[in-house]
Amino acid sequence: MVEATEERRSAVYDVEEYAVHDEPYYLPIGDEVQLFETAYAQRIPVLLKGPTGAGKTRFVEYMAYKLGRPITRVAPGTGEKSEHRMPLITVACHEDLTASDLVGRYLLDTDGTRWIDGPLTRAVKAGAICYLDEVVEARKDTTVLIHPLTDYRRLLPIEKLGQVIEADDGFLLVISYNPGYQSALKDLKHSTRQRFIAIEFDYPPREQEAEIVAHESGCTRETAMDLARLGEKVRNLREHGLGEGVSTRLLVYAGRLIANGVGARRACQVAVTWSLTDDQEVQRSIEEVVTSIFE
């Protein structure tokens, strides 16, 4: 079950029922939107590569909305209008995520066991976009499921039921992967990665990032520009005491704090400096960059 919060009202959906209703804000940096559209039309699975907070998830949501938008169905007879939305099932992968977490498992019932479909199975049946976030984190046995789904077969074998499910026409597998924390263990196998086209994400250039930050946080254009500048400078420290550069997301957070009355330096301290690193020296260095940019 996925819970969506919207203007303080909580709504409950079944996973395959959930679709993105309002257009998410997304500022295209290159041709990624066209690429994704084409890939979807051809049902080519997509791998989104890039550092954390660069907008991968947002992009998938945006694309799900965009791909689902034009279809409005009018039910025959009643004349009732219902909009078709592209369902989006997102699974955040973690290191204990196993194949059965994706496919489904037996649950105990009063008189025996009952089979419950996992999110991947539901997506395959419903023709949804299934987005496996940070797929390298999951256990290796999950890749066994991914492979037949991502080539011409588009099949999901369910071992425990002795079934094979043909994917609904709308189904597409999208995975994301962060090459930042590459270690020998956490690398995507070639047999897996060569089943996807890869769209690279990086932090947007200063101007665009400022626009995003301004839009998302509601801070002034000048503040957004300064934040983007800060982002650029801090990212220069990547591989240097810092595993990853500051994400656009963090800059947006900082912008929101500033827009709501927190002092700029303080906002950057809590949203950027402290969340990035525990190393005191690096913290101090970032702090100095902050104090250079913000008064």
């Binding site: 300064d226 690096v282 100095e288």
Partner: protein, 1079 residues
Amino acid sequence: MSIVTDLVARNHERLSGFPAPLEQQFEEGLRALSSRFSPNQLQSWAETGVELTSLSLRSWEAALEYFRAGVNLPSNATWDSMEALGRESLTMAADSAPLAVAFLRSSPAAIQAIGPSHVRQWADLGRRLYKGNWKSSSLAAQFYDAGASVFGVLRIGQAARLVLFIDELARHSYELASACLASSPDVLARLEEDDRLPFLTFAVELAQSSWADSRLYFERGAPLLQKVHAPLRERFLLLSAQVARGHNRSAFQFFEEAAAALGQLEPDDHHQIIELAEQLAPYSPYAAMDFIANVPTVLDRVRVDELEPWHAAGLRILQGSHDGGEAYFRLQSTRGEDILETLSARVELSRIGEILRLYCKALTGQNVSIQSTEALAEKGIGWIDEHRASTEGTTIFLPEVMERYPQKDENFASYKVFATHQAAHIEFGSFDFLFERPGNLLGNSRSRLVTADDASAVTNMERFFDLFPERQLAADLYTIAEDARIDGAVKREYGGIRRALRRMQRAELDRRGDVTKLPLRQAFVENLLRASLDGADAVKWPKSRPDSNVVAESLGMLEVLAREEALVEDTAEATIRLYQAAIAIPNVPAEMPETDWDSVESQEPGQALPMDSSGDMGGEGNQMQLGDVGEGEQDYESPEQVDFRGDFKPELVELLMKLKQDAMRGDAGQQSPVPLTPEQLAELLEKSVEIDLDALMEGDLDASTGMFMQNLMKEAGQQASEAQKGQPTSDSSTGEDAGEEPLQPIVTVYYYDEWDFRAQDYKPRWCAVKESKLEQGEENFYENALHEHAGLVSQTRKQFELMKPEMFRKLKRLADGEDIDIDSAIEWMVEKRAGASPNEKIYWRRNKIERDVAVAFLIDMSASTDEEINKREKKYDDDDYDDDPRKYLSWWVSKRRQELTAPPKRIIDLEKESTVLLMTALETIGDQYGIYGFSGYGRDNVEFFVIKDFDETLDQPIKKRLDKIAPIRSTRMGPAIRHATHKLNLTDAKVKILFLLSDGRPQDHGYGRDRTEKEYAIHDTKQALNEAKREGITPFALTVDRAGHDYLKTMCEDMGYEVVADIESLPSRLPQLYRRLTE
């Protein structure tokens, strides 16, 4: 008959037996005294003299001197003094005639000096030195002989102190005592009268505690004491004496250092310092003296008024713990360092360099390093100023310390302004000038300008400056314009330091001289500089001059450069315009009163100074030339440089970059398309105004140019190789130059604190750990070791392979999991049917335990590991053969034979072999591991050898390095452990292990109070292990020292350790232990 002849006649009989002069002298004495003393007194005098002759074989000589003293008796002498003299001589001569002789011989002079009433006291002083043997007698005699000169500098009462000192020395060495006595009149004469007694007081204490230093004290003490403010010398000496009283052997050293320190300070401050020291003395005189000795060092960092808080904090520590307080005032305590740091407003580059480095890296996006300006000047590559910030494109050079403001954060802010300006040069492309590229705002008029020889220029900057007949003026204008552009960019991009920058600019403006006193062209340049500092109000120009619009537009030109679009090429364009404006202004004094100068408002350029490069610029057609200096003008002088902007040398930086590129191409085997010839370089250097060869090096110009070029080449080569270092090169070890010269091992130095358990505090940056790769030895060692222990190897491998499958374990009875566990499910069903509440945990899951271990092996390479193992054992076996010599002989023969075929094994050999075995085991299991050896001598030289680093794979060079593990020197474990901890922390493994393999207790020169002390070393090692533990590392110590239990118990209180008594079992034991440790 006179009384004289009567007495002579009466005593003739007694005296005639002695050599003639005696009687003669007797008579002379009588005659001399007859007028001063009464007949009775004379008679008594004569009797005393005669009695003297009879006391011993040679006492007549004393009598002779007695009579002679009568002749020479000073006028102030009374009968009483004469009588005392006689009485003392009699007792003295009874013991030692020569002593009495010396006493009497110098008595006239002495009585003159000390007055007639002190004869007895004087005699007593000498007598105190006399111990009944001839050495003491001659010393005492020497004292009497020195009499007059001693009393020239000391009063009789004070002389007692001298005698006490000499006496004390004489207990140890008569030679030294005699030498000091001989020099004392001179030494004391050099002191002021009031200082003499305290000087001797300390001498006495010194003689008692470390008598050998007395000679030094007598030689150097007096001039040292002069360094102390006169009224305080006594108190200072008393403090010194207190140190000596504590039986401290280095009392003189304390004295010397403290006196030297006071010599560096203002005499007016001495009072306060001595007073503060006296407050410490009751707790520890050493702390008091160290305090004085270190005041200059402390005052380098804090202001005078901060000295007291620093002292007070130390006093509190001292009251709590003597050792802690003493370490504090010795400046060997981390707490002390921290307090000093808090008090001090000064900021040191060494402390904040790393922060600034990351800061500059963030700003520029390049791997800039930070170094001190002194380092730049030392390179001899064109920068001569040791204090001005600068950059050569890859490194930012900043002054070593910053203390221009009374607050620490203000000083740090200054550093930041300095660093930001230099970083901005890199960030905003000051060194990316291309001659052909047009400016964004001002176009390109350069290409239409002609110079004499266009083609010879090697760099873009050189070609540009070649355009100008007056090169210095052009360089100055270019610097101002570029700095205006850079400061503009900094202000625009970095709003946060605007305030600090503004403040520095203001300070700079206030500092500058009077513009109205300058000749006009210089005043023009100075005005531009002021404007670039945002000092429009400081710009002054004569009202009456017709060219004030030119000035106004020139100021406007600088504002154009501060715009966002401005490029370095725009700076160049602006420089051309400004040059033309400047050259039109004659460099003559204005000779106008200040009131005739007015401020100038800046104006948008366009009229006098064209914005557009295509416009008319005073030249004809496509070709034009820049003007030169007119006749009858003053020589142009550059404006004073701006402090925070530092040295800007674009021409040199570009040259250096070009050389670097050439060097890199050379390394890569390519030829530079246009390599620089030495002639080109020499020409460039000669032309450039950025380099002052005379100032750079002494000697003739040709030689210094050569030297300079060498330095430049070297620097460029180094930078090139550093730039390439990051990229792995396949042929790094077999490269061409490897054969030419032996590869110097690269030594990296790390500093670590050391724990002083007495002071309960760290000694800051106490040990220097020098890390280097171990040399490579024979490669077959590794294979041989494997071969020798073939059985063990396969056994170990098997054991370790067995560890692997355990990584996947099926966990049952979980609330959630991969699938339902049938057994639990049935149970659940049964319970449910039976009506009991079933256990809901019926799932199972494969638990993946990733083995994520990093281990650092630290091998003791101390000299003691050289010991042969057989020898050790022989000690225990000897007894068996004692009874039967034949048995012993046959044992010995077989042993010899064995030794010839296989040399005896040493501890280190077994350590090595065990390491090899363990490495194969580790390779099997796939743990990350590093192997390090350590040794060294003293705290400055802890050698840390890398045999295998964590990120290295086990290949040929490493196998070769293993062979070179050999006994070297001492064992300073603490720093080695700290460095290994540091290495472990760099890995990202979940389990980190530090494995220490040693053969004995830690010991090293200076690792403890003296050679025999063990506690200090053990405590430091323990502390280092504790630190490792705090970092989440599991330390484990293994020793082959049978006596290891004693100290390992203390050292590894609650950590694992093992003593391997049977060293032969080490190769099999080590992998076992490791397995146990990580399972």
